[in-house]
Every structure is written in structure tokens, then in C-alpha cells.
């Protein structure tokens, strides 16, 4: 995996500073018709979700397909998915940065934006899952530090705070650039740049502060990022449910998250590159490197998958055996094998070939990875709950299976639209590629 080759690749752009600034600020000023249609679309999806949530508030969680045995559903699996996605921020802007992979510089900001959007929507979706959202404040008033849920609340807030700082600190010089260069923007937007640029003048001392702060944050974010998904895995591994009662769950979740994160960044690269006409900044080289990275991360995830399933499937004992049978041959088998083949094996095999690391094919493969990652979390959460130690008897038909209702789907799609909306709005306000890191880096 030759990820650190050619440290000067960012300078391959070979353009004048003025030209770079012009290219990268272009998408901030203009609102095209497509932008507006896109926002309208996202708005409609979110509104449908809001209506579904209104129904849930009115009639209770009864509007979902969750019942006493399957007591957690796609809200929780979606929450786990978003937490996984949020690791992308630390992957690109921290792990790659610290390993001197300077080619990744143009990708840092977009990954940080996605991380923040995902973590915000994860927090919202977990509140949606609560039976009594009106009592949310009790988590703070009566919080018990012994409960893994409280650990999760603490770590999510911490990660969100560090991620916002990480994004914001590296934004300051670009906000100053917007303040100085953008004249035909609304007054509120101008005011926004002025306030948030924090009187940035581009002095040497200011650069020193910014470099120092961001390298501290880069290092700080790694343990927190690992913790956020490890703690999320503990919500499951601290119970006796088959498939959850595993010491492997922490690294299994983290490795899966890094893989999903890499796939998300590839998809984001593809669409941002095309819609914002940034082909000279997000190059084929980036796709190639990200493709290799995705192979590596998928291979690590495959390793933890084998660890997760081999032991129990070899022993096939009790409810653990029932659970494995259900996944391998039972009613979830088609989902399970589709996910493992198209979401895990395929990227490893396909992306070894250079032609498939070209922008379009790798984007398609990354989509499969993302869909697989979402379904995988469904398979982690739901089937485990359907194999309790004591048999399920004397219950209503609806307790025996779990098929999400339209309200659950509407809210889930709204949460996706929420992530995309946050990403879109931030991109419309600030340059999506860090301008100063491409132009001022040498100072």
C-alpha cells in the first residue's frame, strides 16, 4: 500500500495562487438551479420524516414494527451506521495526515464535514428511538455513570466537540479569504465570515498557532474516534444476546466503521468533483489512493468478520448456534450473504485492479460497500434480539418478525437527507477544499 508516495502531489495542480482561489471559491458564491432543486428534494424528504415522527410522538412507538422481543430496530442500526460514518473525519484528517499522506489534503475538509453531519444525525436518531423523548433531560439530571448509554452520550458529545474544532480551526484562514475576496454575497454571509474569521491576518504567529492546534487535535481525535465506536459496540457486548456477547465486538465495529468511512469519502469525492467542477483538485490519483486504502480497510474488516463468526459457527451451541443458523441458512441468509459478498469480498477483489479504481467504477463499488454497511448493522442489531434464551410463545403474530413500517423508513431516509443537507449547506458557505493548505502551506 503505497499511500505516502510523492508528498508533493498536492502541488501538482500547478496553478497560480490567484487561479486556485478563484476555482475553489466559485461554488461558494453561486446558487445554481440544481442546487435549489437538490435542497428542495432534501427538504421534502425531511418533511415526510418529520410527519412520520409527529405520528410517532402522537401514538407512541406503536407506529414502528418494534415489539417486546425485537425491542430495537432500524433506528438503532441506523444510529450505529451514522456513528460508523463519523469515523471518516478522523480517518482522513488525522490518520492520513499523521502518516504524512499529503495527497489527502484536499479531502480533509469534506471528511470533517461529513463526520460532523453524521454525528449530529446519529444524536437525533437516538432521541427518535426513545420512548419518552420528553424526558431526555433526565439523562443529564439522573445520569448513572455505570450505564454504557451514559458513556456513549459523553463520548459522542466529546467527539462532536473535537470534530467541530478540527473543522473550524482549519477553516479560519479560508473564512478570512472569503471575507476578503467575496463581495457579491448577502450581508449576513459577509458578517458570518467576518465574525468567524477571528481577525485572521495571515501572520506568521497565527499560522504557528493554527498548525500547533490542529496537530494537537489530530492526535486527540484518534483515541476519541476509536472510543466512540467501541463504546457503541459495548451497548451490545455488555448483554448476553447471541451475536453481541463477544469480546471481538469493539475492533469489529471500529474496523467496519473505517471501511464504511473510506467508501463514503469516495462517493462524496465523486459527486463533489463532478458537480462543483473540481477535477483538477480531486484527481484520479485521489481515487486510486482511496481505492487502495479501501482494499486495506476491507481486508482488516474481513479479518474481524472471520473472528466474529468462526468461533460460534464452529461450536453451534444453544442460542448462539440458532443465531448463526438464522444468518447463514435462515430467513436472514440472503441478506447476510449479499452483504458479505458485495459489501466485503467484492471491494477487496475488484479494487486490486487499477482500472476499477477509476472514479466511476470505484464510486459504484463504494455504493455497494455503503449499502452493505447499512444492512450489516441491521443484521447485527435485529436477529440477535429474536433469539432469546427462553422461547417466544403466546404472543401476537406481530411480535414474531420485524418488518420496518413506513414511519421508520421515512424517519431513516429523513436522517440520510439530514446528513446530506448539513453537508450541502456547509459546502455552500465555505470552500470544500482547504484553499490555504494548497496555497500557503510553504510559509
Amino acid at each position: 500500500m503505497d499511500l505516502v508516495d510523492n508528498p508533493d502531489s498536492t502541488r501538482e495542480v500547478g496553478k497560480s495562487r490567484q487561479q486556485i482561489e478563484q476555482d475553489l471559491l466559485r461554488h461558494v458564491t453561486k446558487w445554481t438551479k440544481n442546487d435549489k432543486l437538490w435542497l428542495l428534494f432534501l427538504g421534502v424528504v425531511i418533511l415526510i420524516g418529520v410527519f412520520a415522527y409527529y405520528r410517532q410522538l402522537r401514538y407512541g412507538l406503536l407506529v414502528t414494527a418494534m415489539r417486546d422481543y425485537t425491542s430495537w430496530g432500524i433506528y438503532i442500526s441506523n444510529f450505529v451506521f451514522f456513528v460508523a460514518i463519523s469515523l471518516v473525519g478522523s480517518l482522513v484528517s488525522s490518520i492520513l495526515k499523521l502518516s504524512n499522506a499529503t495527497w489527502s489534503t484536499p479531502l480533509t475538509r469534506i471528511s470533517e464535514i461529513i463526520a460532523i453531519a453524521a454525528i449530529i444525525c446519529a444524536s437525533i436518531i437516538i432521541i427518535v428511538d426513545m420512548g419518552r423523548p420528553d424526558r431526555f433531560i433526565y439523562v443529564i439530571i439522573f445520569g448513572r455513570i455505570q450505564s454504557p448509554i451514559i458513556w456513549d452520550v459523553i463520548i459522542i458529545v466529546t467527539y462532536l466537540a473535537i470534530s467541530i474544532l478540527l473543522l473550524y480551526i482549519s477553516l479560519i484562514p479560508d473564512l478570512a479569504l472569503c471575507r476578503d475576496k467575496l463581495h457579491d454575497v448577502p450581508r449576513w454571509q459577509k458578517k458570518l465570515y467576518e465574525v468567524f474569521a477571528l481577525n485572521w491576518k495571515g501572520e506568521k504567529r497565527q499560522y504557528q498557532i493554527i498548525h500547533k492546534t490542529s496537530s494537537i487535535l489530530c492526535i486527540m481525535v484518534i483515541p476519541v474516534a476509536f472510543a466512540i465506536h467501541t463504546v457503541t459496540s459495548w451497548l451490545f457486548s455488555t448483554t448476553w444476546r447471541p451475536g453481541w456477547d463477544s469480546t471481538n465486538l469493539g475492533p469489529y465495529f471500529v474496523s467496519g466503521a473505517l471501511m464504511a468511512g473510506a467508501a463514503v469519502i469516495i462517493i462524496a469525492m465523486y459527486f463533489i468533483r463532478n458537480s462543483l467542477r473540481l477535477k483538477e483538485y480531486i484527481t484520479e490519483l485521489h481515487f486510486d489512493h482511496m481505492g487502495k486504502l479501501l482494499v486495506l480497510l476491507s481486508a482488516v474488516y474481513l479479518y474481524f468478520n472471520i473472528n466474529e463468526y468462526l468461533g460460534p459457527s464452529f461450536k453451534m451451541v444453544g442460542v448462539e448456534g440458532e443465531h448463526i443458523t438464522e444468518l447463514f441458512f435462515g430467513k436472514y441468509a440472503y441478506m447476510y450473504w449479499l452483504v458479505q459478498i458485495f459489501g466485503l469480498i467484492l471491494p477487496i477483489v475488484a479494487l486490486i485492479y487499477k482500472p476499477l479504481r477509476a472514479p466511476f467504477p470505484i464510486m459504484v463499488i463504494s455504493f455497494l460497500v455503503i449499502i452493505g454497511a447499512w444492512v450489516k448493522r441491521f443484521l447485527i442489531v435485529i436477529p440477535s434480539l429474536q433469539h432469546p434464551y427462553l422461547p417466544i410463545q403466546d404472543v401476537d403474530e406481530s411480535y414474531l418478525h420485524y418488518i420496518p413500517t413506513w414511519e421508520e423508513w421515512a424517519i431513516t431516509f429523513a436522517s440520510f437527507a439530514g446528513v446530506l443537507l448539513i453537508v450541502t449547506l456547509i459546502i455552500k458557505l465555505v470552500p470544500v477544499i482547504p484553499v490555504w493548505e494548497l496555497t500557503d502551506n510553504k510559509e
Partner: protein, 300 residues
């Protein structure tokens, strides 16, 4: 000081109880006679003064304790239940009594009677299952807001005015003992249901978006009575008692707990999980009646 407060509380409680009819629903109890009875004036929970036959009024004026008091266990007690599997014939009277007392509808019973079969060769048996009131309760450990808690008398209770509805306790409980109010509890349609003062010791009234489970009826225990399921069982399959005094009773006979468990090889379900349940089972040997599939068993 503390004693004084407690006394004052009890006094006011009794005074309130004298004019309140908290348990009007007990009027459907089995001992109503058909004859003309003396009528008494009672104040209903919704403030109306009505006349009802004397036998329909709750004999005692016990008022269950509120959420704060309910966190403190009954002193010097450690409650325990023993289920004699050889006597259970799936009559389901325990479920009926429990549902009735806790105003539950059949969709979320606190007690289940499961058809169990340990292996292919052994004959099946009925297993009444309640909350095991574990001494190392997984549900209490995971609760983020102390809505479910363990008391000094061994009982695990839920404060549904505290519960945030995260359902982590339901995932954590290996015995599937917990039920959730997914929607508005159907019984809240009953007149006056919502005005019943809430007590974690009675688990009434149930609230939407919160969890519920078998509570060992601490309101009965405070009055030196046994839970409703114990007296309801026609076969004497359910024993209840106090570990500290090593005694359990099924309503008919009172026996030594340690002796019963030793002589009949008592065990706890899934002992190996380390949850330390306070419900013991006596194996289904030497059965009084052979196993019969009953009508109410709609195998799923």
C-alpha cells in the same frame, strides 16, 4: 426525626385512604354475593360520591407508597419465590390474577407460562416465568437514569415516571422478563385509570413509552400479604417467602426454603449467567398430573 416524618406520612396516607377508594377495580373479585347488601358511601378517584355494596369497597384503606418511598426496601426482608414445576398444569390463574391486579391487557403480561422441553427425550412441562428479581440484575446495571433499581429486600422495581424508554434493560435481560408500553396502554381507557396515584410498588398506572415487569407486588408485601399470583394458583405450584427467615408458603403449606430446595433439587434458571435470580424452580418430577397440551397454548 426520620421516624417522625414517616409516621406523619403514614398518618396522612391513612386519612386520605379512609375517604378514597383506590382499588375500585377489585369489585370484580370472586367473593361478591348475590344477596342484598348494606350500601356504603365512597369517594371515587375522580371525585364523585357513590354508593356501593359494602363487599365491593376495598376492606382496607391501604395507600401504596410513592416513587420516592418505593426505592427503599421493606426492612429485614429478602423475598424469594419458588416454582414447583411438577404442579403447574397451565391453568393460567396466576396470569389472570396478575393482569387483573396490574390492570394489564393480555398483550403485555408480567407472567408467562411457557411450554418447555429440556431435550428430545424428556417430556415437556409448563414453566411459569416472572421477573427473577436478580441479585446481580443486568437491567439495573444498564439503566442510564436509575429508573430501574434494586432494593434492600431483593426486589427490582421500575419507576415509570423516571423511565426514558431506551429499552436497554429489555436487551440486557436474558430472561425476556420486561414488556414495553409501545402505545397508549389499552387500560388507560378505563374510567378513572389515569387518576390512580402512581406507585412503582403497584406498577399502576402504566405509561406510554415506558417499560414494565413483574414487581413481586410490594404493596401486598407491605401489608404482610403474598403476591396475587401465589394465592391464585389452584395447584399450589407457587411458593413465596423470605430468605432471611428461611420460610416459604404457597398459601396452603408453609415450609423451610432450604429444606425444600435441597429435598426437591431446586435450581435457578440459567444459573451460569451469574445473575443470581431470586426465583427458584423445582424440577418437573413426580408430577401430580401428566403433561397435557392445553387449549390456551397457541404454540407459536
Amino acid at each position: 426525626m426520620e421516624k417522625k416524618e414517616r409516621r406523619a406520612f403514614l398518618k396522612s396516607g391513612l386519612a386520605a385512604g379512609a375517604i378514597t377508594l383506590a382499588t375500585i377495580s377489585s369489585c370484580t373479585g370472586p367473593n361478591i354475593s348475590e344477596e342484598e347488601e348494606e350500601l356504603v358511601n365512597v369517594l371515587t378517584p375522580d371525585g364523585r360520591l357513590v354508593q356501593i355494596p359494602k363487599s365491593m369497597a376495598a376492606a382496607d384503606s391501604y395507600v401504596p407508597v410513592g416513587p420516592k418511598e418505593a426505592r427503599i426496601g421493606i426492612p429485614n426482608k429478602k423475598f424469594v419465590m419458588v416454582v414447583d414445576l411438577s404442579r403447574c398444569t397451565n391453568e393460567r390463574k396466576c396470569i389472570d390474577a396478575c393482569d387483573h391486579h396490574h390492570h394489564l391487557t393480555p398483550d403485555r403480561p408480567y407472567i408467562k407460562v411457557l411450554r418447555m422441553q429440556d431435550n428430545e427425550d424428556s417430556s415437556p412441562y409448563w414453566m411459569p416465568k416472572k421477573c427473577f428479581q436478580c441479585d446481580n440484575p443486568p437491567c439495573v446495571k444498564v439503566c442510564p437514569v436509575s429508573a430501574t433499581y434494586k432494593r434492600s429486600d431483593g426486589i427490582v422495581l421500575i419507576d415509570n415516571e423516571r423511565c426514558i424508554g431506551c429499552r436497554f434493560c429489555m436487551s440486557a435481560c436474558p430472561y425476556s422478563a420486561r414488556v414495553f408500553n409501545w402505545g397508549q396502554p389499552p387500560e388507560s381507557m378505563e374510567e378513572g385509570y389515569d387518576e390512580i396515584p402512581y406507585s412503582p410498588e403497584t406498577s399502576v398506572p402504566s405509561r406510554i413509552g415506558t417499560v414494565g415487569k413483574c414487581d413481586f407486588c410490594p404493596d401486598m408485601l407491605r401489608q404482610d400479604k403474598v403476591p396475587h399470583c401465589i394465592t391464585a394458583c389452584p395447584n399450589g405450584a407457587l411458593y413465596f417467602g423470605d430468605k432471611l427467615s428461611d420460610t416459604v408458603t404457597n398459601g396452603g403449606e408453609t415450609v423451610r426454603l432450604s429444606q425444600l430446595l435441597r429435598e426437591k433439587a431446586g435450581y435457578r434458571y440459567l444459573e451460569e449467567l451469574g445473575t443470581e435470580p431470586n426465583v427458584y424452580y423445582l424440577p418437573p418430577v413426580n408430577r401430580a398430573v401428566p403433561f397435557e397440551e392445553t387449549l390456551s397454548d397457541q404454540e407459536s
